[in-house]
């Protein structure tokens, strides 16, 4: 076999074409004399939300086929995690879905906790819920801004990013970082929330309620926006389930499947919230479901703040969690644990576990295999963006290019999560 690099770049690029598919243009009616135009949307394109490449076959303005090609930001995080101690791998998994880092971290930590059979204190669980729900709002806000931008409403991006920044301020208060906070720790959270956090969070939710109302007033009462979304990109519920689609996309068809309710984790059963569902599953439903989810998330945050239990914020199992700073100066044991943890990490008994949670984009599963050492033998993320991307073809086929863009926007794919 000759070296791949000896083949000119153009020819290598041409290796991925529709001819390789068994039946190009399956599922659509194209006349024999139709003028087809193959076009690459992406990898660098304003609307692909990252480096997603869509191989589109157009007939005029109508998308007859779309094949998503991915891998342009594949950074091998799953492989890299195998070389990291468990508690250091958290920083890696956080960078997969870079808009929902708390969820990645939680899925991984929960999987490791299950392997360790480690109990998480209730206060830590509530703090996790608060941060995950804030993260959900932040993620949906980013989606709202970019989706509206793709539809041509440019101002939404700045407004939603303004509000997202307030959430990032909160994250900075609690975790010290704005993105990729590594706030969740195996066994709990790394630090208690600082004074003032609660008041600021309440201020935020109160503020955010009016803001969402304003955004709805801007978008929902705009005839152009509504008509761009109405009755577009409908995929039947059964087909979505076959495609493994979960999260708001599935709920937009009227299915109320939400892991927070269906299989509660992290004390979600303590909170009173509703699951917004749509009716027909078009883009408009997807938009409405996400907007409503933000409101529900704010309710959860407020309830969690109201009922925040007293107690430790991390397990007192010193083999898993770092001892508090002040103990290091007084306790020899704490120093030893600290040394062991920092140098070697903790060991996890052999076993494998699949932990699934509800991320802003759907079911986020973390599969961890432990071989008894202090490093995981396998970390796999079932990322919802990755799975949901498969429904793009069904959503966008036989629609116009503009609808394809709207479909990408409503799909809300995060390329970091898709490629990992």
């Amino acid at each position: 076999m000759s070296s791949p690099l000896s083949v000119p770049y153009r020819e290598r690029e041409e290796s991925v074409t529709l001819e390789r598919l068994e039946a190009p243009l399956a599922g659509t009616e194209v006349e024999a004399d139709a003028e087809l135009l193959t076009i690459n949307i992406g990898p660098h394109h304003p609307a692909t939300h990252g480096v997603l490449r869509l191989l589109c076959t157009l007939e005029g303005e109508v998308v007859r086929d779309v094949v998503p090609l991915i891998g342009y930001v594949h950074t091998g995080i799953e492989k890299s995690c195998e070389d990291q101690q468990y508690w250091k791998a958290i920083t890696f998994v956080e960078r997969m879905d870079y808009l929902a880092y708390y969820f990645n971290a939680y899925a991984f930590c929960a999987a490791v906790e299950r392997l360790l059979d480690e109990e998480v204190p209730p206060r830590a669980q509530y703090l996790r819920v608060i941060h995950m729900e804030l993260n959900r709002i932040a993620s949906h806000l980013f989606w709202l801004g970019t989706a509206a931008l793709d539809l041509g409403a440019i101002s939404m991006l700045w407004w939603s990013l303004r509000d997202r920044d307030m959430i990032l301020d909160l994250f900075e208060m609690s975790g010290g970082q704005r993105l990729h906070t590594r706030y969740f720790q195996v066994g709990g959270v790394i630090e208690d929330i600082p004074p003032g956090f609660e008041r600021k969070t309440r201020d935020f939710t109160a503020n955010m309620r009016t803001r969402i109302g304003q955004y709805e007033a801007l978008l929902d009462e705009n005839q152009i926006f509504v008509e761009r979304l109405h009755e577009v990109g409908i995929v039947p519920h059964e087909r979505l389930k076959d495609l493994g689609v979960s999260g708001p996309l599935l709920r937009a068809t009227g299915d109320s499947w939400d892991l927070r309710k269906a299989m509660p984790y992290c004390s979600y059963e303590h909170f009173d919230f509703r699951i917004p569902v749509g009716t027909v599953g078009d883009h408009y439903d997807r938009y409405r479901v996400r907007i409503a989810e933000m409101r529900e998330s704010m309710r959860i945050v407020e309830q969690a703040l109201d009922g925040l239990p007293e107690g430790p914020f991390i397990t007192d199992n010193r083999k898993v969690a770092l001892p508090p700073r002040h103990e290091l100066a007084t306790s020899m044991e704490a120093l030893i644990y600290h040394f062991k943890l920092v140098t070697e990490g903790f060991r996890v008994p052999p076993g494998e576990v699949y932990e699934a949670i509800e991320s802003p984009r759907g079911e986020l599963g973390c599969f961890v295999v432990a071989d008894g050492s202090s490093k995981p033998a396998r970390v796999h993320m079932r990322d919802p963006s990755f799975i949901n991307l498969q429904s793009l073809h069904d959503m966008a086929q036989d629609d116009l290019i503009a609808d394809l863009i709207a479909s990408i926007a409503m799909l809300d794919p995060i390329l970091g999560g898709i490629d990992r």
Partner: protein
Amino acid sequence: MIDPTGLELVARAVRGAVGDGSVRDTVHAHGAATLDVPPEDVHEVLGFLHSDADEPFDFLSSLHGCDYFPAEPRLAVHYQLLSTERRERLGVRTRVTVEAAESGVVPTVTDLFPTADFQEKEVFDFFGVRFAGHEDLRRLHMPEDYEGHPQRRDFPIGGEPVLYTFNEQRVPRWYE
């Protein structure tokens, strides 16, 4: 979550429907239930679980590969099934040797669960498991012309040469 008894009931039903050898082992650990299935029976077992009217596992939440390196058979494909009716998860695992995996012993389940399409590509890409019957099995994340399957445990970490203009003379085999 399926309790151990429930898992045995499922295993018995599967054995009854597909065949005695279709479930090699049942594992119940950390609150998760897993059936260990030989690769040639994977399709029938999943088909049975998928369409069984009593307790259908209608949703394939995840399909992923795994490499249990020192142990043999080394490679494994995991299927995480979910029943939205029962709100229960069930793992199905099949373990194959490297040679068997590359010769295409594991059947595709894309006909049962279209969601498996990308994920089987991913497993093929990272572990080299060749799914028999998959329509369009090719690399997904790695470049088309990549050699090797990077998530196998014996694949070294790091050291991928990256081509820039400043080092294009030094990248191995650039002139070939």
